[in-house]
């Protein structure tokens, strides 16, 4: 496909969220994920001609992204690596499938957030909207990092259960 064609630009633009989610789940670091996404985009653009119209763009993009993730890994120290390649490989495969199927987690999440107690919402707001690290939040709140991490874990569990329920109902409809 022509890299300057409107279709390609649209496909690439439309795939950003998914490709980013794919990369993030493998490198679990926001800054790295953005760098890798940028690198991936350049490669996708450079190799646009290799993409056959009608085939799955997200799948193609994820495969390109995976190589950039591996490339990024090679530059990291051992201590920075969490997953070994076997686990990473499986996660990549699964995440690609999840994204291709285009499930509606975000809508479910929005519904679940409305049901969250105010205190928990506030905690999430500080963590995400203000972009505060758990370390900073702990210092500000006079709590231990562990306690705060634990609180966030509980909120995520609640939300996760809610999302699953929502998606279950959706599937049952």
């Amino acid at each position: 496909m022509e890299r300057d064609s409107e279709t390609f630009v649209q496909l690439l633009t439309g795939a950003q969220q998914n490709v980013h989610a794919f990369i993030f789940s493998l490198c679990h670091d926001s800054a790295s994920a953005k760098d890798i996404l940028q690198e991936t985009n350049l490669t996708l653009w450079r190799k646009a001609e290799d993409f056959t119209e009608g085939t799955n763009f997200v799948a193609w993009a994820c495969r390109v992204a995976y190589f950039h993730v591996l490339n990024h890994r090679r530059r990291q120290s051992r201590e920075q690596l969490v997953f070994d390649e076997e686990v990473l490989d499986y996660l990549a495969e699964r995440q690609e499938m999840r994204l291709e199927s285009g499930d509606h987690r975000l809508e479910a999440l929005q519904r679940c957030l409305t049901k969250l107690p105010e205190a928990q919402r506030e905690l999430l707001e500080r963590r995400y909207a203000a972009g505060a690290s758990v370390q900073t939040m702990a210092v500000a709140a006079g709590k231990s990092e562990g306690a705060l991490s634990q609180a966030l874990f509980r909120i995520r569990t609640t939300l996760q259960q809610c999302i699953e329920k929502q998606m279950g109902t959706e599937a049952a409809r």
Partner: protein
């Protein structure tokens, strides 16, 4: 652990991972929990997706990727909120680097055996820009060029995954590249650095050598600078010696850096780096590079040593190499009929470069005993030595036991002169100019003295240069017998204390006179740059 507990543990660890509070031992636990467990993997992905979802929902930094900002096609690329304009050739190089750096193999689908971005070509017939003069464990990216040591290079894009290479530009500049690196040679006086660490030596002749980075052109106005470009386009330049001019892509000069100064650049924003730039291309890195350079020097030195070892006029050759720390016998690589030395007291230590061994003479009892039988008409004495202090009236390099007629004494005076004494009816002493000043203490220097009885000439050399020449009449045949390196068995003579304070990492005696050219060559082959 039950399945429910396992999954809860996965949720907890994943949550901590995303919050940046996961400990190193928990990394291992999380990986172990996910391995071979599809449900656990699914759970981890749920938590990761939730994290991104929350971030997007609350408008944070991690989750939202507004398509436009990350895309490559407009020449205005926004990064971290700042707009930057990348020159197009640079952008294309980045793309080429990225593709070669990893995704190329993947992208070559069966129906499309697409041509590599940098087509392989006959390296023996180059375009002629530079030569790859040295390579240390290089790993080149698949699909790109794989030049070997000695190959000439044209206008090529090179992607070095790891390792070190030295490139000598036909314009005279020498660049040591440390991978991961991606760069393009554009002319005998210019290269583009997309990623990597570059240490550049620019002789007078090659002034003006330029490295192009995303933010500026670094133009060397003489000697040496280091430049690092990250995969994110950030760069740091540090002037080690001399002067570097920084020009904008439009050619306008905006900064001139002197030795010890540096600059960090990130998307058009510049921060000065002062104080010798120790926080820039870190010292380890420089050391690593210099060690590699040393390795090459080392190989060169080895070749020179092997030639000397094979020379039948080499009576004694102590190279102090290949010996165990506990070895007390010093191998003599000279003539087979000459015995090994015996190390007494002196400790093994580091020589001219990392990995080169030396013996350190510190205490007044430290010495190496040796024996050289025979009478000689001509002699050359040579040593690489690092003097720590001239503590005695005379410090021994090589002294024969006592001082019998014809015996040779090679030593340093407390003034820093080389003194060659030959015992005779009256002792014949020849002294060089001062070769070791206070600034030379702790530095490796190369000392040579040649004695020619047939022409009655003694010549002293320091670092390949003549530092004294005298006519000495009345020399008898030259002898050693039992002798010591770094010390003296006085046998009742005056000034018995002549122990050396310093290190020796090469010592030789030849029964011929080396010419000034040979001495200069010997120094060059062993010099540590």
């Amino acid at each position: 652990m039950s399945e429910v507990d396992r999954l809860e543990r996965v949720t907890m660890l994943s949550s901590a991972l995303l919050d940046g509070t996961l400990h190193a031992d928990e990394h291992i636990e999380l990986n172990a929990l996910l391995k071979g467990d599809p449900l656990a993997c699914e759970r981890y992905l749920d938590v990761a997706d939730l994290h991104l979802g929350l971030d997007a929902e609350f408008g944070g930094a991690a989750g939202s990727v507004t398509g436009e900002s990350m895309l490559p096609f407009p020449s205005n690329e926004v990064r971290g909120g700042r707009t930057r304009s990348l020159p197009i050739p640079w952008l294309v190089l980045v793309a080429a680097c990225l593709a070669l750096g990893g995704a190329l193999i993947l992208l070559r689908t069966p129906q499309d055996a697409s041509a590599p971005l940098a087509p392989t070509r006959d390296l023996s017939n180059p375009g002629g820009i530079a030569v790859l003069s040295r390579a240390v464990d290089p790993v080149w990216a698949e699909g790109g060029l794989h030049p070997a040591e000695g190959d000439a290079l044209g206008a090529d894009v090179l992607v070095l995954d790891s390792g070190l290479v030295q490139i000598e530009f036909f314009g005279g500049a020498i660049v040591i590249v440390q991978g991961p690196a991606c760069f393009e040679l554009t002319s005998p006086t210019e290269m583009i650095g997309s990623e990597g660490r570059f240490r550049t030596f620019v002789p007078e002749l090659a002034r003006g050598f330029t490295i192009v980075t995303p933010d500026y052109h670094a133009v060397d106005l003489g000697t040496e600078f280091a430049l690092a470009v990250g995969s994110d386009g950030k760069s740091e330049v540090h002037v080690i010696e001399g002067e570097v001019r920084l020009d904008r892509p439009d050619g306008q000069t905006f900064e001139t850096l002197l030795a010890g100064h540096g600059l960090q650049a990130d998307a058009g924003r510049f921060d000065k780096r002062e104080g010798g730039g120790t926080d820039f291309v870190n010292r380890e890195q420089i050391l690593e590079l210099s060690q590699v350079d040393s390795r090459a020097r080392f190989r060169e030195w080895q070749a020179s040593r092997d030639a000397l070892a094979a020379d039948p006029s080499t009576l004694v050759l102590f190279d102090f190499e290949g010996q165990k720390p506990w070895d007390r016998q010093l191998e003599n690589r000279g003539r087979d009929d000459m015995p090994a030395g015996a190390v007494i007291g002196a400790q093994w230590s580091q020589g001219r470069w990392p990995g080169k061994s030396a013996l350190e003479f510190k205490r007044i009892s430290d010495r190496v005993r040796l024996a050289v039988e025979g009478e000689f008409e001509t002699l050359t004495l040579a040593a690489w030595i690092r003097v720590e202090g001239l503590d005695q009236w005379l410090s021994s390099i090589l002294l024969t036991d006592g001082f019998e007629p014809g015996e040779v004494h090679w030593q340093l005076s407390d003034q820093g002169e080389m003194v060659l004494g030959i015992s005779g009816a009256s002792p014949l002493n020849t002294t060089s100019s001062v070769v070791i000043g206070p600034q030379d203490l702790g530095r490796w220097i190369h000392l040579v003295t040649t004695i020619d009885r047939t022409t009655a000439t003694v010549i002293h050399y320091r670092d390949g240069q003549e530092v004294g020449k005298q006519v000495v009449t009345g020399m008898g045949p030259l002898r050693f017998g039992a002798a010591e390196l770094g010390n003296w068995q006085a046998k009742g003579s005056a000034h018995p204390l002549r122990s050396l304070n310093g290190r020796v990492d090469e010592f030789m005696i030849l029964d011929r006179v080396l010419s000034p050219t040979e001495v200069a060559e010997l120094h060059r082959a062993g010099a540590n740059r």
